[in-house]
Amino acid sequence: MSDKKTGFRLSDGTTLDELVPGNGERSVAGRIMSDQEVYRLELERIFDKTWIFVAHESEIPEKDDFVTRYIGEDPVIVSRLKDGGFSVLLNSCSHRGPRVCMADRGTSGMFRCPYHGWVYKNTGELFAVPGEKTVYGEGLCKDQLGLKQARVDAYHGLIFATWNEAAPSLKEFLGPITVWLDVVFGLGKNGMKVAGPPHRWVLPCNWKMGADNFNTDNYHPLATHQSVAEAGALPGLDVRIETVAGRANNAIDVERGHSIASFISPTPEMPEQAYLDIGCEIAGVPRNMVQELRETLTEDQVGKLLRSSGSAGNVWPNLSWIRSPCATGEGNPSIGALTIRLWQPHGPEHMEAWSWSLLYKDAPDDVNAAERQALLRTFGPSGTFESDDAEIWINMQKAMRGVQGRKRRMIYNAQGKKNPNVEAPLEYYNGQISDDNQWHFYTTWRHAMQG
């Protein structure tokens, strides 16, 4: 589709091709990281149109529990309803627009606007308008003045929402990458829970920098994470590029933009029947769950669990995860842990990072405590790994707002060799470092920005 047809043209005449080319040249203009006009279009064409992660269901376990979140820059209330389902409501009074809920979390079946006292149920319904007859005479059509409701659905406890009535179902949106999500988020009959509320912190850089890195950049650990490697945070792990390349496995949905990059490959010293034990050990799946998994997982899933035991990935556009063994100093166990990460956009040059620790509901308390501690010391604002990533993204941002910086290209031309045995739209790249995952994040971006 030409840019003319889709109407994508920035006010200075710049076309989409000049930002992310459609001709096979794998480069991205620095401008998309710092431009206000591009950012407004992203809010309209990406965040307002696609499924966005809003909460983990364990954050709102009981009836009327709620948390407040954002879809793009629009505030929403995510509630647990009486029937066990969820609602996602625009957190803005239908009358004049203030947020009707000011807390990050709580328990309430009703939300009362502080301005004129309109009261809404957590289903969105407008329940009461003070002095309705006195002020409005014949009264209001209250059934048309509820809080705007988003579509909502969940996969393995991850709750997503979208305003887009025409969007495909969540399952269709996630697509075939779910075979990998199943062995990251779907293990054990009782599933996962958050350790507690998310870390939230502001990074002065564009939201795409986080998504790009987690998509995943298997090339960066050697330089970026040299300090943690030298301090001994990666016991037994070798970050030399040749070694990382040999272990890396990438899977991408090139149409939907989701991807996973794993850091573990089976080696001859890993007997096939031991994959499950080794995978669980690396991933932080507690020992008491292994027998259940042995009985319920297919052979293919066992292989995928091993490969993804150390992995990172991104669900388009801005939900990432990483599962990794973490070592945090003398007297502390080296243990696997899982975090999910939301790159919350907040203007072209800022984002809020939100980071949750995910734990197995069936794990013993001491295992969960060890995973929680290992994770927060490694990933999150005080995390030894994460701080070095963030510093680099901030420095990218500083170099992408000038005239040269907006014009310059970020290059993604490390092209991998596709595994020919995998069916489209999935592509697999085994045993190599390539930019394919990250590049397809931008081809998905290009497609979405066409509107």
């Binding site: 807390a103 979390r105 350790a195 100093g329 501690q373």
Partner: protein, 179 residues
């Protein structure tokens, strides 16, 4: 801050010797951390230290202080603090090389003695952190609740620190900085 119930503690008045000893300890600690003298700082910790900074949430008044959600920015022991020091003093730690310029402003110090004789201090901390060429420093404010033990020379050793941060969304690009 309600981690330790001060009603059960005996207040130590400003001007008393113990008050000065604790206040000077806190001032010295801030100077050590601001000047990246971490080995000396570690030597002033009780090897059994617990160091905790919960995530702050914004909650309705009836729901408390928003500090009991279960996840933390710091949940540390001596080994993990020593590891953090090793990491951030590594020349390849890009987030601290070039180093931040930190001012830990300690104030509102109150000192108490518990029923078992343990020394407790509550203090406010305002961190001003200047990084790179940014004209405006990053800010973080918190209240700290410290419990001290005594070392073999009867010197104060930090045995427990509870940090109640004010920001639900941290305004710092990283929190390697110890508080």
């Amino acid at each position: 801050m309600a981690n330790i119930d001060t009603m059960k503690l005996a207040r130590v008045a400003r001007g008393e010797e113990l008050y000065s000893e604790v206040h000077e300890w806190l001032d010295d600690e801030a100077a050590l951390l601001d000047s990246y003298e971490f080995d000396e700082w570690l030597s002033r910790l009780d090897p059994a230290i617990n160091y905790l900074m919960p995530v702050r949430e914004t909650v309705l008044a009836k729901d408390g202080l928003g500090l009991d959600g279960g996840y933390s920015h710091f949940e540390e022991n001596f080994g993990s603090l020593a590891f953090r020091v090793k990491h951030q003093t590594n020349a390849n730690c890009w987030s601290e090389n070039p180093r931040s310029r930190c001012r830990r402003m300690v104030s509102n110090v109150r000192v108490f003695v518990g029923e078992g004789g343990e020394v407790v201090a509550k203090s406010y901390l305002l961190l001003l952190r200047s990084r790179g060429d940014a004209a405006v420093p990053e800010l973080l404010s918190c209240e700290r609740e410290d419990t001290f033990s005594r070392g073999d020379q009867a010197q104060l050793k930090l045995a427990n620190r509870y940090i109640a941060v004010d920001q639900a969304t941290l305004g710092v690009s990283h929190l390697l900085t110890l508080l």
